[in-house]
C-alpha cells in the first residue's frame, strides 16, 4: 500500500522494507505533540484481523509502542536510523518529528546535522481522541514556542537552508499558516481540521471502536457510515490557501519563501498588552536571528547523504542477475565497521521490485568477512541471506523483513564463541520476519519489539525479548536481567542450566513453562521420513501453542548447520539431558489470543456450512 508519507514510530509495527520503499517521505516519530513521552496505543479490541495483518501482530492483543525508540539513545543513534532509512529508500526524504518544548532547537540542530531532510515541530493542540486521559490535558506546549526556537537555532548554526521545517498541532486557518511561516516554518501540517472536513465530529470514541461516523473504527457496520469525500478536504484546503493568499497580499509577499522567519511582521502589541501576558518577556520568542550574507533562512539546499559509494552499491551490482531475472547469485566481499546498514539498500531494491514476499530463499547469498558496521542486515528482505564471518555491531537485523542473517566468528579467532560477544545491543529491533543465527553472545535488549523473526543466540544481555509481540527466540546460554519485560507475544526458550532463570525473568506479563516433549514427536518425524533437516521452518511455526520440543530441536539444528556451533551440536547430542533445562517463556495475553483464534477457526467451517 502506497502513501506519500509513512511513519516510523517506536513500536515499529508493520515497518517492513516493503512499507518503507513505497513512500516519498519517511517520518521518524520521535514523539507526538499531544502526548510527548508516550508511545502510541491501540487497544486489543481494535486489533482485528486486518489491523493485525498490516501491523504484523496477533489479533486481539493490544499494540503498545514503547515510549522511546530503542535504537535511539543519542543523536548519533538517530543519525544511524536516518541512514538506515535513507539506504532502504534513497528516493524518500527522511523527516524527524519532534515535540515543541524548551530546548527543541538544540535537538533540531542535531537532527539537521544527522542529515534529516525535514523536521516537524509538533504542538500540543492536535492529537487523537484515543490518547490516554493523562495525556489529553496539561501535556505538551504550543507550536509557536518550539518553532521559533527551532528556526532561531538553525539559522544561528547555519543549518537552516538544508532542512525543511514543518510545524503542526492544531493548525486550522490561513492565519495560523501565515503565523507559522513568519515564525520560521517552510511547511505547515494540518490534520485534525481536514479530518473534520472529511466528517469527523469529535465524538472522542476513537479508543472504543464505536466512531459513529465510521472513521476511527474497524466495525464494518460503522465504516459504512463514512461519507467523507476527497473533495471535502480539497475544498477546505482551498479556503485555507485563499486566506493565506489574502494575508500575503496584505503583508506584501509574493512567495511563501519570502515570508519564512520574518517575525517582525507579526503585530503583537495588542496581545502582549493583554492582562494575562503582563510580566512575561516575549522578546526571545519573537527574536529574529541575524543571518550573515549568504546564509539561508529558509529551506533551499539539499542534505548531502553519504550513500553514493558504499558497500551496498557493490552488492547491488553483483546481485543484478537475481534482481533482474531471479537467477541465484553468491557474493563474497569484505566488510569494515564503517560499512553501516549493510544489505539495507539491496533489500530496498528487492522489496521495490518483488514486494514483501521478495525472492526465494537464498537467491542472493552474501558472505562478508570482517566487522560489520552498525545496523548490519537492517531491513534484509526475503531472498537475501547475509553471512557475516567476523562480528557485528549494534542494531544487527533491525527491521528484518524476511531475510536471513548468520553471524559467526572467524574460525581463526581464538575467543570461545559461547563466552564472547558476537553482536551488539538492540539486535532485531522491530524485526518482522526472517531468521538469525548468532554463534556467540548478544548485547542488551536482544530482540526488543520483535514482531515475528526467529533467532538463536548463545547468550544475551539484559532486557532480552522486551516488548516482543511475535516470533521465536532461543537463548542457548546465560541471559541477563529483566527478560521478557512487556512481552505480549511470540515465545522464547531459554536454557537455564543453574535454575536461576526465573529470578532474572520479568514475570509481569509472561509465564514460564517446561518445554513439553510431545508423544507424537517421533511419530511425526517418522511421517516426514525421519529427516528432520528437511522439515521446513514453516511447519514448526504454524502452531505456536504446541510442538515446543519439536520447534526447539529444529531451531537448534538449524543453528548448528548455519554457524557450525559446537554448543548447539553438544546440546543436540545430549538432547534428553538438555531438554528439561529449557524454559519456555509464554506471554499470558498471547496464549489467550491464540486460543481465541483457534476457537474461531474451529467455528469458521461450521459457520460456512450453516451459511450454505
Amino acid at each position: 500500500m502506497r502513501s506519500a508519507i509513512k511513519q516510523v514510530a517506536s513500536g515499529r509495527f508493520g515497518v517492513t522494507t516493503h512499507y518503507l520503499v513505497n513512500a516519498d517521505m519517511i517520518q521518524i516519530k520521535m514523539a507526538q505533540g499531544a502526548k510527548p513521552g508516550e508511545g502510541g496505543q491501540l487497544p486489543g479490541h481494535k486489533v482485528d484481523a486486518v489491523i493485525a495483518k498490516v501491523r504484523h501482530s496477533t489479533p486481539g492483543v493490544g499494540l503498545i509502542s514503547p515510549p522511546p525508540h530503542h535504537d535511539i539513545y543519542s543523536i548519533e543513534d538517530l543519525a544511524q536510523l536516518i541512514y538506515d532509512l535513507k539506504n532502504t529508500n534513497p528516493a524518500a526524504d527522511i523527516s524527524v518529528k519532534l515535540v515543541s518544548e524548551v530546548g527543541v532547537g538544540t535537538v533540531a540542530a542535531g537532527v539537521a546535522k544527522a542529515r534529516a531532510d525535514h523536521v516537524t515541530i509538533s504542538g500540543y493542540e492536535g492529537g487523537t481522541g484515543a490518547s490516554p486521559l493523562t495525556s489529553i490535558k496539561h501535556a505538551g506546549s504550543p507550536w509557536e514556542m518550539g518553532l521559533s526556537e527551532t528556526h532561531q537555532t538553525l539559522v544561528a548554526n547555519h543549518l537552516r537552508g538544508r532542512i525543511a521545517v514543518q510545524v503542526d498541532g492544531g493548525i486550522r486557518t490561513g492565519r495560523d499558516v501565515v503565523i507559522g511561516a513568519l515564525l520560521g516554518a517552510d511547511e505547515i501540517g494540518l490534520a485534525t481540521a481536514p479530518l473534520i472536513a472529511a466528517g469527523c465530529i469529535m465524538m472522542r470514541k476513537c479508543h472504543l471502536n464505536t466512531c459513529p461516523v465510521g472513521i476511527a473504527t474497524q466495525d464494518p457496520v460503522l465504516r459504512k457510515r463514512f461519507t467523507g469525500q476527497p473533495e471535502h478536504v480539497i475544498n477546505y484546503l482551498f479556503f485555507v490557501a485563499e486566506e493565506v493568499r489574502e494575508l500575503m497580499a496584505e503583508l506584501g509577499y509574493r512567495s511563501f519563501n519570502e515570508m519564512v522567519g520574518q517575525m517582525q511582521m507579526l503585530d503583537k502589541t495588542e496581545v502582549i498588552a493583554q492582562a494575562k501576558a503582563q510580566g512575561l518577556d516575549f522578546s526571545r520568542l519573537f527574536h529574529k536571528p541575524e543571518a550573515p550574507e549568504g546564509v539561508a533562512i529558509y529551506h533551499c539546499e539539499t542534505q548531502d547523504h553519504p550513500i553514493h559509494d558504499i558497500l551496498d552499491r557493490r552488492l547491488i551490482e553483483q546481485a543484478m542477475p537475481a534482481l533482474e531475472n531471479r537467477t541465484p547469485v553468491r557474493i563474497e566481499e569484505t566488510i569494515n565497521n564503517t560499512d553501516r546498514s549493510a544489505g539495507a539498500m539491496l533489500s530496498g531494491v528487492v522489496a521495490k521490485r518483488y514486494g514483501h514476499n521478495g525472492l526465494p530463499e537464498d537467491t542472493i547469498a552474501i558472505t562478508l568477512r570482517g566487522t560489520g558496521g552498525q545496523s548490519f542486515g537492517a531491513f534484509a528482505a526475503h531472498g537475501v541471506s547475509l553471512e557475516l564471518i567476523g562480528n557485528g555491531n549494534d542494531y544487527v537485523g533491525k527491521g528484518l523483513s524476511g531475510g536471513r542473517i548468520v553471524v559467526r566468528p572467524d574460525p581463526d579467532c581464538p575467543a570461545i564463541p559461547e563466552d564472547s560477544i558476537i553482536v551488539g545491543n538492540t539486535v532485531l529491533y522491530g524485526a518482522v520476519e526472517g531468521e538469525c543465527y548468532f554463534h556467540g553472545v548478544a548485547g542488551e535488549r536482544f530482540a526488543v519489539r520483535n514482531s515475528g523473526a526467529v533467532a538463536v543466540v548463545e547468550g544475551a544481555g539484559d532486557h532480552c525479548c522486551e516488548y516482543m509481540t511475535g516470533g521465536v527466540v532461543v537463548v542457548l546460554g546465560q541471559s541477563g536481567r529483566n527478560f521478557a519485560a512487556g512481552m505480549s507475544g511470540g515465545i522464547a526458550y531459554a536454557l537455564d542450566e543453574d535454575g536461576s532463570f526465573p529470578t532474572r525473568c520479568n514475570l509481569s506479563m509472561v509465564e514460564l513453562e517446561p518445554v513439553a516433549e510431545e508423544d507424537d514427536l517421533l511419530e511425526k518425524l517418522h511421517h516426514h521420513g525421519g529427516d528432520i533437516e528437511h522439515k521446513g521452518l514453516i511447519d514448526v511455526m504454524a502452531d505456536m501453542s504446541r510442538h515446543d520440543a519439536e520447534r526447539l530441536h529444529q531451531l537448534i539444528t538449524n543453528h548448528a548447520r548455519f554457524t557450525g556451533s559446537t554448543r548447539a551440536a553438544h546440546i543436540l547430542e545430549n538432547w534428553a539431558e538438555y531438554l528439561p533445562k529449557f524454559r519456555k517463556v509464554m506471554p499470558v495475553e498471547y496464549r489467550r489470543a491464540l486460543a481465541e483464534l483457534e476457537r474461531q477457526q474451529e467455528d469458521a467451517p461450521a459457520m460456512a456450512r450453516a451459511g450454505e
Binding site: I201, M203, K205, T210, P212, D219, R225
Partner: protein
C-alpha cells in the same frame, strides 16, 4: 455512559399515538408511554458523545447524556434532579417540545436519534408519580419584591427561579388561569392543563402569589407596578397575530386561530367563555391558512369538533421529505413533517396564496386562491376556488401587543417590534424592567421561553442582590 455499543444493538423505538379513529373522539392526551424497560433500553442507545451536540441543540441545555446514563442504570431520582437543574418544567417540554435536541443527536446523522424527549418525559412523569417533586421554598427571604407580568412558560420559569432565590414574587395574568399559550393556545390533546395547574401549586408553595384576571396596563397602571415592586419582569408573549388583509376578510366565519383555540380550551376545562360568539367547526368545511404548529392545532381541534373537511394552505413550497444531513446536522432541518393532527385527516396544499374571500349573507363560503412560484409570485392561470364555511388564520405572530403595558412603560423596541433587551441582562431600556420569552424574542417555543425566564431571573437576582447563584 449508557452502553458503549447500545446504539449498535438496540433499535430506536419511540412512544406511539393511540389510533386516530379513537383519539379524535376526545380532547385528552393520546401518546402511549414506553414501558420502564423500553425507556431504559432507549437510554442505553446514548453514546455519551465527546462533544454532545444535544447540549446545545436543547435550548435549556439539558444535560442529556448524563440523565440518559442515569436512566439506563435505573437511577431515576438522580436523573430527575439532574433534569430539573436545567429545566423547570420537563413535563411541558417532554410533551410539546419539537425536540431540537434530537435533530442535534449524533445518531440523527443516520435518522435514528436517541428518543431524548420521550426519556425526558418518562423521568419527570415518574417523579410526579412517586412524589419526588415537592416545593422547594427558599430557606431565607430577601425582602425584595418582584412582579412578573404574564404567566406563560417564560413568566412561570422566571417566577419560580426568583421565588427559590428568596424573593417575593407576584405573577400577574390577564386571563382567569395562568399558563399563557400552554393554557389557552395549545390544545388539551397535546398537553392536558392539569400539568400546568400542578406546577402553579408548587410555585405558590414556594412563595409565588398569582394575581389572575389582572390585565396590567388596563386593570392596573404599569407605573403602579413599578412603585410596588423592586423589579418587574415582562413575559407577556407575542400576542399580535399576522392578519390577511384581502377582500372579504371581514366576512363572518373568518377568525384568527387564537380566537378559535382558546374557546375550546375553555370548554374543556369548563371555564365560562364570556361574552363572545362561539366559533365551532362542527359540520363545516374548514380551511386553515398557515402551515405551522398553530395551524395543526386548529386542524386537530376542528376534527374533534366534527368538521366535514379540513384543508390546510401554506404559501411556502412543499419542503423536501428528507433533509441533506451534511448541510443541516446538527441544526434543525427544514423538511416535511406531519403532525399528529395532520395525520387525523387534513388535506395539505403548498405554494398557495389566498387572494380573496367571498361569501353570502355576510358569511364566508369560498376562498379564491392562486399558486405561487418560488419567488412567491402568482402563477397566471393557476387560480382555483375552495369551499369554506370556517376560515382560520394561523399565519404566525408579529410581536407583543404594544398598547397598554409597553406604551405606558415607554420601552424601546427592536426592529421587529419586540421589547428590546439583550440575552445576558434581559434588561429593557428601563433599568427596573426586564423582558423575556416571546415578548422579547418574538414568537418562539415553550423551551426557549423557559430558558429566557430562567436567565432573566438570574439577571434580576443579580441586579437586586449584587450577586446570584441562579444558573444561566
Amino acid at each position: 455512559m449508557g452502553k458503549v455499543t447500545g446504539f449498535l444493538e438496540i433499535d430506536r423505538r419511540d412512544r406511539r399515538y393511540a389510533p386516530a379513529s379513537d383519539r379524535v373522539r376526545h380532547y385528552r392526551e393520546f401518546v402511549i408511554p414506553l414501558s420502564e424497560e423500553a425507556t431504559r433500553d432507549q437510554a442505553a442507545r446514548c453514546m455519551d458523545c465527546g462533544i454532545p451536540y444535544c447540549h446545545t441543540g436543547c435550548p435549556v441545555n439539558n444535560q442529556i447524556p448524563d440523565w440518559n446514563d442515569l436512566v439506563y442504570n435505573g437511577n431515576w431520582e438522580e436523573a430527575l434532579r439532574n433534569l430539573h437543574s436545567t429545566n423547570n418544567f420537563p413535563e411541558f417540554t417532554g410533551r410539546i417540545c419539537p425536540a431540537p435536541c434530537e435533530a442535534a443527536c449524533t445518531l440523527n446523522i443516520e435518522d435514528i436519534p436517541v428518543t431524548i424527549k420521550t426519556i425526558e418525559c418518562a423521568i419527570v412523569d415518574r417523579g410526579w408519580q412517586n412524589g419526588w417533586i415537592r416545593p422547594q421554598p427558599p430557606s431565607e427571604k430577601t425582602g425584595k419584591s418582584v412582579a412578573v407580568v404574564g404567566s406563560g412558560p417564560a413568566g412561570m420559569a422566571c417566577a419560580q427561579q426568583l421565588a427559590r432565590a428568596g424573593h417575593d414574587v407576584h405573577l400577574y395574568e390577564k386571563n382567569a388561569f395562568p399558563g399563557g399559550l400552554m393554557r389557552y393556545g395549545i390544545p388539551d390533546f397535546k398537553m392536558e392543563k392539569s400539568h400546568v395547574a400542578r406546577r402553579i401549586m408548587q410555585m405558590e408553595a414556594e412563595g409565588v402569589t398569582v394575581h389572575a384576571n389582572v390585565h396590567v396596563g388596563v386593570d392596573i397602571d404599569a407605573d403602579e407596578l413599578l412603585k410596588r415592586h423592586d423589579a418587574v419582569a415582562l413575559a407577556g408573549g407575542a400576542e399580535k397575530p399576522r392578519d390577511l388583509p384581502i377582500p372579504g376578510r371581514d366576512l363572518n366565519g373568518v377568525h384568527f386561530a387564537m380566537e378559535f383555540l382558546p374557546q375550546q380550551n375553555r370548554r374543556v376545562s369548563q371555564e365560562p367563555l364570556g361574552n363572545v360568539t362561539p366559533i365551532l367547526a362542527g359540520r363545516k368545511h374548514v380551511v386553515v391558512i398557515g402551515g405551522g404548529d398553530t395551524g395543526s392545532d386548529c386542524i386537530g381541534t376542528s376534527i374533534r369538533q366534527g368538521a366535514l373537511s379540513v384543508t390546510q394552505l401554506e404559501i411556502m413550497p412543499r419542503p423536501p421529505e428528507k433533509e441533506d444531513k451534511a448541510l443541516s446536522w446538527p441544526n434543525w432541518p427544514l423538511k416535511l413533517r406531519t403532525s399528529s393532527s395532520q395525520e387525523e385527516g387534513a388535506e395539505r396544499d403548498f405554494s398557495v396564496l389566498t387572494q380573496r374571500l367571498t361569501g353570502t349573507n355576510g358569511h364566508v363560503t369560498q376562498l379564491d386562491c392562486v399558486r405561487v412560484d418560488d419567488r412567491m409570485q402568482p402563477v397566471e392561470g393557476s387560480e382555483f376556488a375552495l369551499k369554506a364555511d370556517l376560515v382560520l388564520l394561523a399565519m404566525g405572530f408579529l410581536g407583543p401587543v404594544q398598547e397598554g403595558l409597553i406604551e405606558q412603560l415607554g420601552l424601546e423596541l427592536d426592529g421587529r417590534g419586540n421589547v428590546l433587551a439583550d440575552t445576558r441582562s434581559y434588561r429593557t431600556s428601563n433599568d427596573k424592567v426586564f423582558a423575556c420569552g416571546d415578548m422579547r424574542r418574538g414568537q418562539s417555543l415553550v423551551v426557549w421561553a423557559i430558558r429566557e425566564g430562567r436567565q432573566a431571573a438570574r439577571s434580576i437576582d443579580e441586579a437586586l442582590m449584587g450577586e446570584t447563584t441562579l444558573p444561566r
